[in-house]
């Protein structure tokens, strides 16, 4: 990789540079909710911190990581310089500007509305504008990815697009669909009100638009991890990918099924009828399919490698895998966390079962396991794989890298298993401090303390990760192997056009979106008088119960 090296590396450094302080914040927030003494124990600081943790992790880290990964993939998998690198740099500047604006506003205490906004709560306009620049700016990246894929297809008629490029373009398209909800909410509702151009806020419409983003964004976070499973892991194990077709179908299904399902985040909301809640709850089950396909494909690919390395018997191929390779270890740990988290997720999306755990710590546990655990551990593995290619210097220590992955895995389990249990006991989310003299709360004290220990393990792991990357970056230059992506055991000579592009799938998704979201959004223009005044988050005294 020659041309996009600095571009990709800078994106990764922004992502991991912000990741570390956000992990520390998360640990402090857990300490604050526990019966243990915590420094700076002010509720207002807690909510500002949750907003920062969410904004950084959900918007900044993930978007920069995906963009950097995308540029690297475009150049290495297509084997030619990135097209549109000027646009990519402009995109970087816009996204950085937006991120700085958002973070500064939160630090000033003017935006404690959490990253999910919760209208009619109102933050400073600069926060919304910052998030808008970051997410809106990243649409340039979406275009760059599509331009690169389409340009390569034009120059190589009849040849299948390399799987990694196909998958990152699916990720980009998915991000455009996912971002449409939050961008519309910002442009139509929050930014006009924050600048005082409008009077009332349509809170329920805002929630509904955000729900378009809220589920699909998780798949946007997850897709780079899946790309690594399909294209980097088989290479790291010394094997081959089991099936190219199944891989393409997986990414197509993620694109098509993960957007028209967001209403399952609003199952407990009064502004939607049971019909559409039930429909989207049902559609959500289809998102399980690509994950199940992946479990088969990845296990089968690993089995090929394990048997090739001398593994015998029904399960003998598993210990035969090179577990000292960070990519292999991370993938194994990822599948364990994905399994546990996925089980919890099936309960969340079930129309009725969700009422037991909605907005309890169970939900926090679920997405920390899926995103913070399964997804982020693959981000680490990708970084370890990419670093030698981007810096021209070998990874300083694979042993330390593997230690770091194990620490992250155990830290995440020790954190989230107690959260799941506390959630079932009824512990609400997003509460700054608990009164442990209440018997209801006191029962959860030991669970909360265990999870704090998990949080500290996570902090240690995050520090170790950045240390490994910095040490590698400062090391001696040496020749490194170019990045190679896994080929299928039976490499495709040609694939049908439906498996070589996204026009058909984007059209199907458009129809699904009209069916799933058409009426739920249109109804707000038919209902009379439900808009409400906005409430500035800093306006009311904390201790005053009435107006």
């Amino acid at each position: 990789m020659q041309h996009s090296r600095r571009l990709a590396l800078l994106h990764f450094w922004v992502a991991f540079g912000l990741f570390l302080p956000a992990v520390v914040e998360g640990a402090w927030q857990m300490l604050m909710r526990s019966p243990l003494p915590a420094p700076l124990r002010y509720p207002s600081m807690y909510y500002a911190s949750v907003t920062l943790h969410g904004t950084v992790m959900a918007y900044v880290v993930t978007t920069f990581f995906a963009m950097g990964f995308g540029y690297a993939i475009a150049e290495t998998s297509l084997g030619r310089p990135l097209r549109g690198s000027v646009a990519a740099w402009i995109c970087f500047v816009i996204c950085i500007t937006g991120s700085v604006m958002a973070v500064a506003t939160i630090l000033a205490g003017k935006a404690s509305v959490l990253y999910t906004f919760y209208p009619p709560l109102l933050a400073s306009a600069w926060y919304y504008l910052g998030v808008f620049l970051l997410i809106g700016g990243s649409m340039i990246w979406v275009v760059v990815m599509n331009v690169n894929m389409i340009g390569w297809k034009r120059d190589n008629p009849g040849r299948p697009v390399p799987l990694a490029m196909f998958a990152i373009t699916a990720t980009a398209d998915l991000w455009a669909w996912a971002a449409s909800g939050v961008l519309l909410e910002l442009i139509c509702i929050l930014i006009p009100r924050a600048f005082g151009w409008s009077d009332l806020i349509d809170a329920a419409l805002g929630r509904t638009l955000f729900s378009v983003t809220l589920h699909a964004i998780v798949y946007f976070w997850l897709m780079p991890a899946y790309i690594a499973l399909y294209t980097l892991l088989p290479q790291a194990t010394g094997g081959r990918l089991y099936s190219d077709t199944m891989a393409r179908l997986t990414f197509i299904m993620f694109l098509t099924f993960s957007v028209p399902v967001g209403l399952h985040h609003l199952l407990m909301d009064p502004e939607h009828g049971s019909g559409f809640k039930f429909l989207q709850s049902f559609l959500t089950f289809l998102v399980v399919l690509p994950t199940l396909v992946t479990v088969l494909s990845i296990s089968a690919s690993a089995e090929i490698a394990g048997r090739h390395r001398g593994g015998r018997g029904l399960l003998g191929w598993i210990p035969a895998l090179p577990w000292r390779e960070p990519m292999v270890l991370a993938s194994g740990l990822m599948l364990v966390m994905l399994g546990l988290g996925g089980f919890g997720g099936i309960i969340n999306m079930s129309y009725a079962m969700n009422s037991m755990i909605h907005n309890t710590s169970w939900v926090t546990a679920h997405f920390h396991l899926i995103f913070g655990g399964a997804t982020v551990i693959m981000y680490f593995a990708i970084a370890y794989e990419m670093w030698p290619r981007l810096t021209g210097k070998p990874l300083s220590s694979k042993r330390l890298a593997c230690w770091q992955l194990w620490l992250w895995f155990w830290g995440m389990l020790i954190t989230t298993i107690p959260w799941h249990i506390a959630g079932l006991m009824g512990q609400p989310r997003r509460v700054a401090i608990f009164d442990y003299s209440m018997p209801f709360v006191a029962r959860m004290a030991s669970l909360v303390i265990i999870s704090v220990i998990g949080g500290l393990v996570l902090v240690a792991s995050a520090i170790l990760m950045v240390a490994v990357l910095v040490r590698s970056h400062l090391g001696e230059s040496s020749l490194t192997e170019p990045l190679r992506y896994a080929l299928a055991v039976n490499p495709p000579r040609e694939v049908p056009s439906s498996l070589n592009g996204f026009a058909l799938w984007n059209t199907i998704l458009l129809v699904l979106m009209l069916v799933a979201y058409g009426y739920p959004i249109a109804q707000f223009f038919l209902l009379k008088s439900h808009s409400v005044p906005a409430i500035e988050v800093t306006r009311r005294s904390i201790f005053n119960g009435t107006q």
Partner: protein
């Protein structure tokens, strides 16, 4: 080790190491297993929803949050527990920064109970821990949840949605008492939990 041809990393897998036909057959088996898994999950979802008669608040009922105090069913004198002619009970609550009004309500056990909630400012959440009574409270809408309490006892009622900088202080209480106890209470006792 490098010279040994059996070192897997020195001798990459050839194309077709697993024949295409084997791949296709495995995939077909896996698709069949996936369809069965999905079917089981969907059946569980439908059965728990319909047979368990669990229905999250989906009444889509609008209300003007600016005139709650002035007119309609959420005026102050109408809040709290009301006994309906058919023997069921309706509880009306307003969620606001940072309290539920009233802060405590009494309901009878073994009777149908209908909670009707709305907000006069921001989004709040209503949860009775360890039950499936759970709803968002969105300003501009009325949330209706129906349930029946099998046991007597106290349920805490935390707000479970971030509603501002005092969110952590927003805890209220539902007290479930026997029908006889409930019938003997005055209207004021039912809405104010005067026993405590």
């Amino acid at each position: 080790m490098v010279e040994l041809p059996s070192d897997p990393l020195q001798c990459p897998l050839p194309d077709g190491a697993v024949p295409e036909s084997v791949v296709v057959r495995t995939e077909e088996h896996w698709v069949a297993i996936m369809v069965m898994m999905l079917t089981v999950m969907m059946v569980i979802m439908v059965v728990t929803s319909l047979v368990g008669a669990l229905h999250p608040a989906s009444n889509v009922e609008v209300i003007d949050s600016r005139t709650l105090h002035l007119k309609g069913e959420f005026v102050e004198s109408n809040l709290g527990t009301a006994l309906e002619p058919d023997g069921s009970v309706t509880v009306r609550l307003i969620a606001q920064q940072y309290d539920f009004v009233p802060r405590c309500v009494v309901v009878p056990a073994d009777r149908p109970v209908k909670f009707r909630l709305t907000s006069d400012d921001v989004v709040h959440g209503f949860l009775l821990p360890e039950t499936n009574v759970n709803t968002m409270v969105v300003p501009g809408f009325v949330s209706e949840v129906r349930t029946r309490f099998a046991r007597t006892g106290d349920y805490l009622m935390p707000c479970h949605e971030y509603c501002g900088l005092g969110h952590q202080a927003m805890w209220a209480r539902v007290s479930v008492v026997s029908w006889d106890h409930f019938a003997g209470q005055s209207l004021l006792e039912r809405t104010r939990c005067a026993t405590q």
